[in-house]
């Protein structure tokens, strides 16, 4: 089974040289730590920076340089800064190659819910709806089950949706799955996890085609 860093490491294998990538808050943020050697990837944060660098040292902290999670950041050499309308033009205009975000629920048709629990949590969608509505390549990074042990990979989302039919791939602590003709296609197992473990933890319908390889991380 993977921890959050393991999930980030596995998703980092999806990166390709020259890509511009938007990472959401939480597990996705960790991916920046695991970019494979030799690849140049530019990270976008939707509050208005391309070429986001690592967190600052104490001396480098600048209140005027944060990411969309409101964390202090640095800018890489060659970074660019812009306003929010330009930032979402990049997103809506499909100039960003990969979006990685967290989710509370994903449905087998690719629907995603991650912004609201009615009556309990209303924080707002931030940029998530714009991101999922436009990106062609959307990976969800999340735990396979919630804190109560219930599956987060469902036949149908129960929470208010963030976007419809948009998720292409899901990487969890247990598996890598792809949304394939209305079902979850099992691609890889996490180290030490069996197909049976994944079946038990998945409420949605699975496609299990032949031997499922273990992740190589």
């Amino acid at each position: 089974m993977l921890d959050k860093h393991g999930i980030a490491k596995r998703i980092a294998q999806e990166l390709r040289d020259g890509w511009y990538v938007n990472l959401g808050i939480g597990i996705p943020t960790l991916i920046a730590n695991y970019v494979p050697e030799g690849l140049q990837v530019e990270f976008q944060s939707e509050n208005g920076i391309l070429g986001m660098g690592p967190f600052p040292t104490e001396e480098e902290v600048d209140a005027d340089l944060i990411n969309a999670g409101k964390q202090t950041i640095t800018a890489m050499p060659g970074a660019a800064i812009f306003d929010s309308a330009t930032s979402f033009a990049m997103i809506r205009g499909k100039h960003i190659h990969l979006t990685v975000l967290g989710a509370m629920e994903v449905a087998q048709n690719g629907d995603i819910a991650n912004w609201k629990i009615p009556g309990r949590m209303v924080k707002g969608m931030g940029g998530a709806m714009d991101l999922v509505a436009s990106a062609d390549n959307i990976i969800v990074a999340m735990m396979h089950t919630n804190k109560k042990g219930y599956s987060k990979l469902l036949k149908k989302c129960t929470l208010p949706l963030t976007g419809v039919g948009c998720v292409t791939k899901i990487v969890t602590n247990l598996a890598v799955l792809e949304v394939d003709s209305g079902r979850f296609k099992l691609i890889e197992r996490a180290p030490g996890v069996t197909v049976y473990d994944i079946e038990k933890a998945t409420e949605g319908e699975l496609i299990i085609d032949g031997d499922i390889p273990e992740m190589n991380i």
């Binding site: 509050n47 800064i81 306003d83 929010s84 208010p160 949706l161």
Partner: protein
Amino acid sequence: MNKVVQSASEAIKGIKNGMTLMLGGFGLCGIPENSIAALVSAGVSGLTCISNNAGVDDFGLGLLLQKKQIKKMISSYVGENAEFERQMLNGELEVDLIPQGSLAERCRAGGAGIPAFYTPAGYGTEVAEGKEVKLFNGKPHILEYALSADFAIVKAWKGDRLGNLIYKGTARNFNPMMAMAGKITIAEVEELVEPGELDPNFIHTPGVFVQRIFQGNNFEKRIEQRTIRT
């Protein structure tokens, strides 16, 4: 032409109960601190505030919320503010949550003379309820209307007496679009300079969008999530 005013309290003159304001900033980054303090002192209420976030309990727009000066918030993300959540759940505060990119574009459109536009963001979600849907290249989009405000209040790094503005870092965020969309736009700057001191090639907001400008003081620039590399 004299756009320079001497203080935040002079800058906000004319802001009355029930008006709609736009306030720049993302989280606490790039917010007009001095103007918010002046609005608290002036005690105007029943405000509709368009701002990406609602501050934290004791800073930013949270200060106006504490004093119950805001009737309605139009934002994309309002977490990290317990008083906000309390007022919303008690029905004391109206809240309109808008996808962040749609919020930015609606402000831009408001300033650019575009009354409405179609966007894919929010299609199939509760954000799309009651909105016109149209297919473009086979993909559904929803109609979103431009936003404007009686006053827009923005924060810039440097500005000159003609209202030309330069922002610093990610403190730019919503400020340029909001500057365009205010009937009256107030710019609060860290450094007010003479015309000619700013390189025209690097102006972010041309002075035509700004009606009042002043140099703020004692910027706190509070950091919400101080995150250090170890």
